[in-house]
């Protein structure tokens, strides 16, 4: 870039920054409060349509993998049906951006049901024995 081009680039870059609505930055600053420091993150390992594309019940299966366990979830029209593998009993929360929206017991074979199906972003937070696992955020 010559001097003129560099000056033009600075001008364009700064103009662009000035055009960003302040809300976009505010939302960003607020997101820091959601930092999880005490839980292990379970990343989304697979995402596959588990059923035929039958309307209206499009079932989707999600697998979240942490170090020592996975959380498998099937999403149906009315609920999240899940299993913790290997099985262990505990408590699982459904959280959206506003906080905890549903809580369910995880039974001895690792099964749980959470509902209703959240609209927008959500994540699961599992406490089972000494394991505290939080899934990454997903949107369905």
């Amino acid at each position: 870039m010559n001097d003129q081009e560099l000056i033009a680039a600075i001008a364009a870059a700064r103009r662009e920054a000035a055009e960003v609505p302040e809300r976009i930055r505010e939302i960003g600053r607020a997101a820091f409060a959601w930092r999880t420091v005490d839980a292990e993150l379970a990343a989304l390992a697979t995402e596959a349509p588990a059923g035929a594309r039958a309307e209206p019940a499009a079932v989707r299966a999600l697998t979240f993998a942490a170090r020592d366990l996975t959380i498998e979830v099937e999403i149906t029209d009315d609920a999240l049906h899940g299993q913790v593998v290997p099985p262990r009993a505990g408590e699982i929360e459904l959280r959206d951006r506003t906080g905890v929206v549903a809580v369910a017991r995880v039974d001895e074979v690792g099964w749980f049901v959470l509902g209703p199906v959240p609209r927008g972003m959500f994540r699961l937070h599992l406490r089972a024995g000494d394991a505290v696992v939080v899934t990454e955020w997903i949107t369905i």
Partner: protein
């Protein structure tokens, strides 16, 4: 692209809980988030939803970002993904994977957008690092047409004959900023 030391520093500090560093990251990359939303025709509440998803994902990724140089690329891809999710939500009947016609930004265009955004991020970061007199002088030159030297002289107190050399020194200082030397195309031609 090499790692911009200031990004590495911000990511590490944010990871350790420094909210100021996190705010600086948000400031730095908000224009990238916004630019991609706009490219997908999203604004208002839709763009805010996208931004919320993207920032939350970035927060949870802080601990696992090994290569801060990859951050803009990761962010851009995530924003694009969230924009498509948002568009899909608008068209409820579309299932995942059934996105024909949804992604209106093709690969070359997206790549170009990313390159431009990375350059702008770096240029802004370098500009912020300039001494105040440089920032003021360069700001006066942004105008189209640029502010005449005589006016610049009277508003900054710099003699007319010194404006050209000062401008060159300021631009050279900008070019040598670590944030900018990592960006292709920023070198002097």
């Amino acid at each position: 692209m090499r790692n911009d030391p200031s990004v590495i520093d911000l990511v590490e500090r944010a990871r350790d809980g420094d909210a100021t560093a996190w705010d600086a990251l948000v400031d730095r990359y908000a224009p990238l988030v916004w630019a991609i939303c706009r490219r997908y025709g999203l604004n208002g509440a839709d763009a805010e939803d996208v931004a919320a998803s993207v920032w939350l994902r970035l927060v949870e990724r802080l601990g696992t970002i090994r290569e801060p140089a990859a951050l803009p690329g990761w962010l851009a891809t995530t924003v694009r993904h969230e924009c498509l999710a948002q568009l899909r939500t608008r068209r409820r009947h579309l299932l995942v994977g059934d996105e024909a016609g949804l992604d209106t930004v093709d690969e070359p265009a997206f790549e170009e957008l990313l390159v431009t955004q990375e350059r702008h991020v770096a240029v802004r970061a370098a500009f912020e690092n300039l001494p105040e007199h440089c920032r003021r002088l360069l700001s006066l030159l942004f105008g189209d047409p640029p502010t005449p030297y005589t006016e610049i002289s009277s508003s900054t107190g710099t003699p007319v004959g010194a404006i050209g050399p000062t401008r060159r020194r300021c631009l050279d200082k900008l070019r040598s900023d670590p944030a900018l030397v990592t960006v292709a195309g920023a070198e002097r031609t």
